[in-house]
């Protein structure tokens, strides 16, 4: 036990709870309450209402949610596929090649999202590939941003994989493809699932690169929320944020179900 005197222990606990409440509890609670507040002019909100939530689920907003879900789905699946492939390739290559692949795939994590967005505008605004103004450029932006994360999650799991298992499979006559499909990938499945979940969550909340490249026809939910907050509709923005988090959590729960009883990283 670190603190033996009950009075210090109580004091530290109180400070702990106060910091946690100020840092996260109160802000998160405020967003939830604001989403249901008709007005908020005192310490507590008044006139509870579902109007903001109904607005957040109106046709216009449902389109934004659908855009966000589609973009995040495709981007996270592509990012995890490419990242996992790279992680496996790095592990088989070993040595200097592995270090080079590792460095290259960690790089996107160091670059600010706005710079990634500007780069895509610079690269894809003229032939041969004119993607500026399409949904594809938004998907590419989000893929790039979660690529490093997907790679490092799978690479971390691949590194602590027991190499003896593959060698045994190989010595028993299994070809490389069979070893990949029946030994390595199943063992990496938990990390791939974890990477997929967090990549999806990050894509759903992505703002920096998306706001640089999105066309008016493909507006994600965070961009809509920013537009609301910018013109002062904070309660509506809060309701939309709740919807955003709820749909993210729903998809994450689905991924966790698909992963079955595999252990969480």
């Amino acid at each position: 036990m670190l603190l033996h005197s009950p009075s210090t222990r109580t004091a530290v606990k109180a400070a702990l709870i106060a910091v946690l409440a100020l840092l996260l509890g109160v802000p998160l609670l405020a967003v939830v309450l604001a989403a249901f507040a008709g007005s908020w002019n005192g310490v507590w909100p008044s006139d509870p209402t579902f109007a903001h939530l109904a607005d957040a689920l109106s046709a216009d907003n449902l389109a934004s949610i659908s855009v966000s879900l589609q973009t995040a789905f495709i981007a996270s699946i592509v990012a995890v596929a490419v990242g996992a492939w790279a992680a496996l390739a790095a592990r088989s290559a070993g040595g200097r090649a592995a270090k080079a692949i590792d460095a290259a795939f960690h790089l996107p994590a160091a670059v600010p999202s706005v710079v990634v967005g500007l780069g895509l505008l610079a690269a894809f605004s003229r032939p041969p590939l004119t993607l500026n103004g399409t949904a594809t450029i938004v998907v590419i932006a989000q893929t790039t941003l979660v690529l490093a994360f997907s790679y490092s999650t799978v690479a971390g799991a691949a590194e602590v994989l027991d190499p003896a298992l593959e060698q045994v499979a190989g010595s028993l006559g299994a070809g490389s493809l069979r070893v990949l499909l029946t030994v390595r990938l199943p063992l990496l499945l938990p990390s791939i699932g974890a990477a997929l979940g967090l990549a999806f969550a990050l894509c759903m909340g992505e703002l920096g690169a998306t706001i640089m490249v999105y066309p008016a026809s493909w507006r994600t939910l965070p961009v809509s929320i920013f537009a609301l907050a910018d013109r002062g509709s904070l309660f509506l923005a809060a309701a939309d944020t709740l919807v955003l988090i709820a749909s993210t959590v729903a998809v994450l729960a689905l991924i966790a179900r698909l992963r079955g009883r595999t252990t969480v990283r």
Partner: protein, 315 residues
Amino acid sequence: MTAAPETPRAATMRARARWAVGSHGSARVAGAERRDRRSLRTLLWAVPPLAVLTAIFLVPLAETVWQSVSTTSGAFAGFGTWSQALSSAALGRAVGTTLWIALLTTCGCVLVGTFLAVGLSFVPFSGSRVAVRLLEAVVSFPSFIIPLAFGILYGRAGVLNSALAGLPGSPHVDFVNDLPGVVFAEIAYFTPFVVRPLLAVFGQIPRELLDVSGSLGAGPLMTLRRVILPDARPALAASAGLVFLLAMNEFGIIMFTGAKNVVTLPMLVYTKSIVTFDLPSAAVVACAQLALSLAVYGLYRALVRRLSGGSRAAA
């Protein structure tokens, strides 16, 4: 997003895995020719993902650099935009603001994060499990949820101000749309990045060690300084580096606070390219930001490598 700082345990496991691979490799049963062919084939496997990375990330970065020295039609235009941007005060101010916010955020996160991690590990209360789960969940929430909440609570027309208005003298708070608002929001959002690795480290400290330290006459502060914190130093340094990098690159939080006079490099890139359509100037700012971010990232990687190497040597 970024890789979590490596824990000493992962480093040891990695060393073990390397050792296992190495001991098999040293058997040298295969002929050199067969090995060469195999290594060429394994390298070929790395080509498709590297091609994707090049197409969607490396080429766009190169195009950004090229955009800063070219005309809109794509011809080389010289370094006019560069000298113009470098001589203007705006870029220097943005660099200063970016680093200053990142530094304040890092200090705040390290202080608050250490306090929370020590408290949650060694002075647990009913509900501390829920708090840990919440801290872990917040990382996957969109970052703008914090500035949004700050606007609702402490904004000019926010809850706190309307509550204060009833008091005599009608006191007033107004920090959300300014530098303190940005720094507080970033501290709130990035603190979990410090708490999580620290909780992992503290979970491995045997509780008997604290009792022994106490029975030998050390007060709680001395136990904290001499027993608990030395173990946490590598994880703390690594997560501080990570928070600095994330804070330097942060965009959503600053955008949502609507702080017009807090112009960091990402904000400058955004305003120059999307608001004023001055793409060459935006590219110059992006290059400056890129150089700064990559330098900090290089330092961070070197730090993590050195610290994990040190713990491996100690193990």
